[in-house]
Symmetry: C2
């Protein structure tokens, strides 16, 4: 099989590539070739047991998508997007990358014709939902995003379903929880603190908590995100039916529960590195975010996430810290 | 006020124009000018107490929308669309007219800038919903259309909300029930029989009923459709909030209940003109359609429809038949 990963230079794209190198197959079918593209050329991974091509491609450039699908990849992971904050700050860029880029890709696939019908795995977002919410958002809750990013993702979901229904491709959309613990440096994303308050204390650094402990949110580990992608790539589309995008399972936890989990896993000395510094702007933004989901379809289709926030912390320690932390 | 009606040559567009001629105002504000456009130039109405311009415009042509909004109409009714059957038969045309045309319009409005923020009333459709359904579809039910037409309308709804949230326009979307009794000749739309079995017998003609009497569907009269549009044009956007598209009220009736209402209003001799001729293709199509809604927001915001199917028949007799029918 030939696998194309669009958005391969991002955190999830790199982890997905490494997983393919380890697994050498998806759904029992051997991987022969992986093409890695992003707006900057992704690094070439080491030790790949299959052919690897890397390329810098801007999906929103006319013709780019046509070139990418010309050699008919069997599975396309479409992870590329500009993030929520940037899509809100730059209206035109958000629509160009997150809507037009995706539509160009789907159109390019359709125009190959000749029976070409690749599995397309698309990462959507819980940002397709907008407050007010029920206590736990069910699979059948309407999509009324409160950001341009959420709007663009919701539109992409609709296109994915229609192109699939018409037989032009075989799409699966997955709505990812907030990925936690996100490795790397603290960033300025409003959601950054959910990861910062775990990752930084474990590394011996202070972390700032800008909201109150009763803020509830919806999480899954980077490892789960990759599991979702791999599972989506191999799933039987007939079992998914016409509603092609699924809210992924996750862990709903308050910030207080996150901290308590950190205490249980790593001890009080680590928890003491969290400094409270309330930020009214971030508190206001977070108010509009989903707190909890009640996904039924995705678990029934075999998608699995962590069972507790302690698991999420342990996975971070295993996958990113070599099994230990700064006591 | 300057009113622009896009899709003015259609049945609803003509009735809306006539209503403006009668009312001379929307929400208490006098109408000075009405611009009527459609892919074919709309007929010039008689007796208008305001300036009327008519023009043939294809909204999906680059530049057309920019020209239409150049003189900054205060209220824009965007009714133009190709219908469900055509959008399904011609994939590219459906997306070009129903998605790109609408996006060009919203973009043209955004690019006027300079504080221009017109009320845009957009006719969406219950086709944004796809089976399986609950008994009555609530306001918060998800949008998983099973047609390209429904997909395009759902995308337009998302754009309408985002462009409104960003302050580029002041949009209200209304999801119309199936309009019944539709005046004119029987047409080949799969939904045509809902109107045919009332209109044709009242006119002394035979009508064909292709489905069983237990088929339930969601109706409103053409008069209600125009009421919805006028009410949407004048409504306080702040009261609507960020969820800009509303499922309109209507009457849920089985075909058997439709026929019983016809019997009560017009008598057995009229009902006898309905001939049963089951059509498996139409029955299959109709299975996927919404049967009933439980709209809460729209009635709370003052949108009103008929209370019974008998009312729908009486309105047809009043508005289209001069108060009488062929006994």
């Amino acid at each position: 099989m030939h696998i194309l990963i669009i958005g391969a230079a991002g955190m999830i794209g790199v982890k997905l590539t490494n997983r393919l190198i380890k697994d050498r197959a998806i759904g029992g079918k051997a991987v022969d070739k992986v093409t890695l593209v992003d707006v900057v050329a992704p690094s070439r991974p080491e030790g790949a047991p299959f052919a690897v091509a890397t390329e810098a491609v801007d999906l929103s450039e006319p013709g780019a998508a046509t070139r990418l699908v010309a050699d008919r990849p069997d599975v396309i992971f479409h992870l590329a997007a500009i993030v929520s904050g940037e899509a809100e700050a730059d209206f035109e860029k958000g629509y160009r990358i997150n809507l037009d880029g995706t539509r160009y890709l789907f159109e390019a696939i359709r125009k190959v014709g000749d029976g070409y019908r690749p599995r397309v795995v698309f990462t959507s977002s819980i940002a397709v939902f907008g407050a007010p919410f029920p206590d736990a958002i069910p699979d059948e809750f309407h999509h009324t995003p409160l950001t341009s990013y959420g709007t663009q993702k919701a539109i992409d979901e609709l296109l994915l379903s229609d192109y699939t229904r018409r037989g032009f491709m075989d799409g699966i959309g997955i709505r990812l929880p907030t990925i936690c613990v996100r490795p790397g440096k603290p960033n300025k994303a409003a959601s950054g603190f959910f990861s910062n308050i775990i990752r930084e204390p474990l590394a011996g650094h202070e972390a700032v908590l800008p909201v109150s402990e009763d803020v509830r949110h919806w999480h899954a580990s980077p490892r789960s995100a990759v599991n979702f992608l791999i599972h989506a790539a191999g799933i039987d589309g007939a079992k998914v039916g016409p509603r092609r995008t699924l809210s992924m399972p996750g862990v709903s936890a308050t910030v207080g529960e996150q901290i308590e989990a950190l205490r249980k896993v790593a001890g009080e000395s680590v928890v003491k590195r969290i400094r409270r510094e309330p930020d009214a702007v971030i508190m206001k933004i977070v108010e509009g975010w989903p707190r909890n989901f009640a996904p039924v379809r995705a678990p029934a289709l075999g998608f699995q996430a962590e069972k507790s926030f302690e698991d999420i912390i342990r996975i971070h320690i295993e996958d990113e810290l070599g099994g230990t932390w700064v006591k």
